[in-house]
């Protein structure tokens, strides 16, 4: 396929795993793709994923099954995700891995030269393929190389250093293109497209600096299409990764694989114990995850591990030295094994903390990591299989016709809590599905973007240029970088690991005040070339607006589910009571009654007084919620 004479013209925004997979699938169907990226493609946050990607290969003698992967994913997400997309994702995972392997991804190997797999959180089987501890980087480069080849064949064109600002809709409300800004010349320009795919990643920068996310994971693009009317779903569900390094500029991720490979989390029993960690005898250490969850131990799901660390440090006052930190210990493991399988994080810890995890336990604390929520996307259920119907144009379509979303910016696969190593899977899988759906959409499209009236493109371009001009003329006293910092502090404190309605009401008021302060912006520079302050100011304002969706969604959900934890509404599982026993069965009934009220997807749409929240039912066709999550 070269020259791209036939076929449609599609815009993909974002060069991470999702965007590149969508690009490959769209190109494979014979269409041309223009790929927009804020920076050189290959620098996206997918590169930061460390531990691995889940797929059932059943090569470790544990009788693993796709069915078990599906069940683990559903329960890991507290039953909140629609089940047909999960089923299809888990079924297709082994094929995706095979394709990555054909691309040359350097997956770690067994002594027989086959793909090795390791244990991750929330599961009992070794199901995670990995490439040392830089799996995301390796997968990203695999697809990046394929897209580069398509570029030389003329089927893909890259628009690097361009920022997506908005979509353009025709008179029927159908998405017909975008308006974007050249981050160097600051030119604002419209681009026509027969379909647009948003693959713009996560939004962890809303919690900066206490986040594992890259500085470009702002959520601004998703916020922009939300403000233009695209539905946003489950915004209150945001994952805090239990094991991030401490840091003033960023809290760097230490992969869950560290625990999957045998790492142990502990604190000194006496918080005043000032001895070096390895001088503290076993009997004087509190391995709280192993103690509280003997069945899963250190590899409980992330929401549970993060709350356990929260409890140990904030409630029991047992953090190291009384502070916000616990040990993640690898020192008891064989050094060669750890170096081969976790080398990349050892190097990060050594470089940034100046200590060697092989000889000293790491100090870690939970940090903002991953958005389970995101743009609402549709799917078509195949009644014959129970999964998604392959090639349906409805799959991964947002609520705006012609606009698709995939990767972390959608909401589809993880419900209330994502299992480790399911994000590289969902990013890749959803990118491919979105690409295939776009191809179907194009074949049913009666007229392309060329037929759309020029007026709508001109009007949107003028609107966006006007926003820039207003910002460039600003002469207030509010620095955009400082506003970002305040946003992060506010969200970390009030929309964090533990939530309460008074705090959320406060957050909503604070966010509104923060938004007002953009009226008094001081951009700090008026350069008309590569003005990074301008781009950042626009992003921060859109982050504030997305944060409002998160706070409003969190306020509306009066229960505890996955990562969303409001203690006032907690239905605690009775300690020392197990299924079949009266106390547990009474709990099960309360849990079911709560599901009857709250097991539903949160939907947010922009309204005149802020986000309008409503709900829709979840497809539970595969696994009815009979079993409460129990990792004890």
């Amino acid at each position: 396929m070269s020259g791209g004479q036939k076929g449609g013209q599609v815009i993909v925004i974002g060069g991470g795993l999702g965007g590149l997979w969508a690009t490959l699938a769209i190109a494979a169907a014979g269409h041309r793709v223009t790929l927009f990226s804020l920076f050189e493609v290959m620098r996206s946050h997918s590169a930061c994923a460390q531990g691995g990607i889940n797929a059932v290969l059943d090569g470790k003698g544990q009788h693993d099954s796709v069915q078990q992967h599906i069940v683990d994913t559903i329960k890991g997400g507290s039953y909140l995700a629609n089940q047909p997309p999960i089923q299809s994702m888990c079924e297709d995972a082994p094929g995706l891995i095979r394709t990555f392997e054909r691309m040359g991804v350097t997956f770690s190997r067994t002594p027989e030269g086959l793909l090795d797999q390791r244990l991750f959180g929330g599961v009992k089987n070794k199901r995670t393929c990995f490439a040392g501890a830089s799996t995301g980087q390796q997968l990203l480069y695999g697809v990046d190389q394929q897209v580069r080849r398509l570029e030389t064949e003329g089927q893909v064109a890259k628009q690097e250093w361009w920022e997506f600002l908005s979509i353009v809709r025709d008179d029927d409300g159908v998405c017909r293109g975008i308006v974007a800004m050249d981050l160097r010349s600051l030119e604002v320009r419209a681009f026509r497209a027969d379909a647009v795919v948003l693959a713009t990643g996560g939004l962890g920068q809303i919690y900066a600096p206490k986040t594992t996310c890259s500085t470009n994971s702002t959520g601004a693009a998703a916020s922009r299409v939300y403000q233009q009317g695209a539905r946003f779903a489950n915004a209150e569900f945001f994952q805090f990764h239990p094991t991030a390094m401490l840091g003033a500029d960023k809290t760097r991720l230490m992969t869950e694989a560290a625990r999957g490979e045998g790492g142990r989390v502990w604190v000194p029993k006496d918080p005043a114990d000032r001895r070096a960690p390895l001088r503290i005898p076993e009997a004087e250490r509190f391995y709280f995850l192993e103690d509280w969850y003997p069945s899963y131990g250190n590899t409980v799901p992330r929401d549970i591990a993060s709350r356990a660390i929260w409890k140990v440090t904030r409630e029991l006052g047992l953090g190291i030295g009384g502070g916000d930190r616990v040990y993640l210990d690898l020192t008891h493991l064989e050094r060669g094994f750890v170096s081969t399988r976790l080398g990349a994080i050892l190097s990060i810890y050594r470089k940034f903390a100046g200590q060697d995890p092989l000889t000293t336990p790491m100090e870690i604390f939970p940090a903002a990591h991953y958005a389970m929520g995101g743009l609402w996307v549709d799917y078509e259920k195949d009644p014959a299989t129970g999964g998604m119907r392959r090639g349906s144009p409805r799959n991964h379509a947002t609520s705006i016709a012609g606009l698709y979303a995939c990767g972390e910016c959608d909401y589809a696969y993880h419900g209330a809590n994502r299992l480790g190593a399911n994000s590289l899977l969902s990013a890749s899988y959803s990118g491919r599905v979105a690409g295939e759906a776009v191809a179907s959409y194009l074949s049913g499209l009666e007229r392309g973007a060329d037929a759309a009236p020029a007026a709508s493109f001109d009007a949107e371009t003028a609107r966006q240029a006007e926003i820039n001009q207003r910002l460039m003329r600003s002469s207030g006293d509010q620095n955009p970088f400082r506003l970002h910092r305040e946003l992060g502090e506010l969200m970390t404190t009030k929309v964090g690991v533990i939530r309460d309605n008074a705090g959320l009401d406060g957050a909503i008021a604070d966010l509104s005040a923060l938004e007002q302060r953009f009226e008094r912006l001081d951009l700090g520079e008026s350069s008309t070339w590569a003005n990074q302050s301008l781009a950042h100011a626009r992003q921060v304002l859109d982050m504030v607006r997305l944060a409002q969706v998160m706070a409003a969604s969190a306020r509306a959900r009066d229960e505890c589910r996955g990562a969303h934890f409001k203690p006032a509404f907690d239905i605690a599982m009775p300690a020392d009571s197990f299924p079949g026993e009266p106390a547990f069965e009474a709990y099960r009934e309360r849990w079911k009654a709560n599901n009857a009220e709250w097991l539903k997807t949160t939907l947010a749409e922009p309204g005149p007084d802020g986000p309008q929240i409503h709900f829709e039912p979840v497809d539970l066709g595969l696994l009815a919620p009979e079993q409460p999550r129990d990792y004890r």
Partner: protein
């Protein structure tokens, strides 16, 4: 607005930053000096981030924030490479406590400056295309068959090269790479540079990537290819990921010699 820095801790140490600035690709560079508070664990990127909030030079002049690139801040995305005290390296892992003060920041050499510390690394990516740094797939679909096995030993050797993040440090340090070396065949025939060469080594080692080995070798046997390497060994010294670039170049030397023989005597 009040001059308040993001630091929560009072009375922290400061460090002097000397930054080579340039307003645009064709304008003259100039130097500015800043005195920045240093928090524990601070690195060059975190200092530049803090500076954006209150960009005032040592002599009290408010100036435009310094343009620079950064993304992951954990030395995996490759965005933030620059010249720090004369050495090319990622700025995020350049800890202030380990640097000699005053700290001099300059854009990565050999690449055109966009603004201040931002450069355009398009040449690096063009050279990856030139050497065909990919495995040829029939398509991105599942073919229901896995790729051939790879021994743990081969994996270990390949993994060293697959961690290349195209930061450009090795290219910046290479005396043979750069726009000034555009050959008689034009800039696209200038020295391909160490990072793309290492990718040839990686792709040629893959069980099916091997099928196109000759094509890749021919690409680096052409003008601006392997023979332009002057063996200065700078590349391997500056690589932040300790990629054995010179080992790859040595291996490729043997491979291209063999290929030349095959071209002469082998079947066409």
């Amino acid at each position: 607005m009040q001059a308040r820095m993001p630091s929560e801790s009072p009375a922290c140490e400061t460090v002097e930053l000397q930054i080579r600035r340039q307003d645009g690709p064709t304008t003259k560079p100039y130097w500015q000096t800043f005195v920045c508070p240093v928090r524990p664990g601070a690195n060059v990127v975190s200092l530049l981030m803090d500076l954006r909030e209150h960009c005032v030079t040592q002599d009290g002049t408010r100036v435009d924030p310094v343009a620079f690139e950064h993304n992951c801040m954990e030395e995996v995305c490759g965005a933030c490479a620059m010249l720090i005290n004369g050495s090319p390296r990622p700025a995020c892992s350049a800890l202030i406590a380990e640097l000699e003060a005053p700290i001099r920041l300059e854009p990565l050499p050999k690449f055109p400056v966009v603004r201040d510390l931002m450069v355009d690394r398009a040449a690096l990516f063009a050279h990856l295309k030139r050497v065909k740094a990919w495995i040829k797939l029939d398509g991105p679909w599942d073919v229901h068959e896995r790729a051939p096995r790879v021994s743990p030993k081969e994996w270990q050797a390949n993994y060293l090269y697959s961690r290349c993040m195209s930061c450009g440090c090795c290219m910046a340090a290479c005396p043979q790479f750069g726009p000034q070396f555009g050959s008689q065949f034009g800039p696209e025939a200038s020295f391909v540079g160490p990072a793309p060469l290492a990718q040839v080594r990686l792709m040629n080692a893959h069980p099916t990537g091997r099928y196109d080995k000759a094509e890749r070798l021919h690409a680096i046997m052409a003008d601006g290819g392997l023979s332009d390497c002057g063996n200065a060994q700078n590349c391997v010294r500056v690589c932040p990921k300790a990629i054995p670039l010179t080992t790859a170049i040595g291996e490729l030397g043997r491979e291209t010699t063999l290929q030349a023989f095959k071209d002469l005597f082998g079947p066409h």
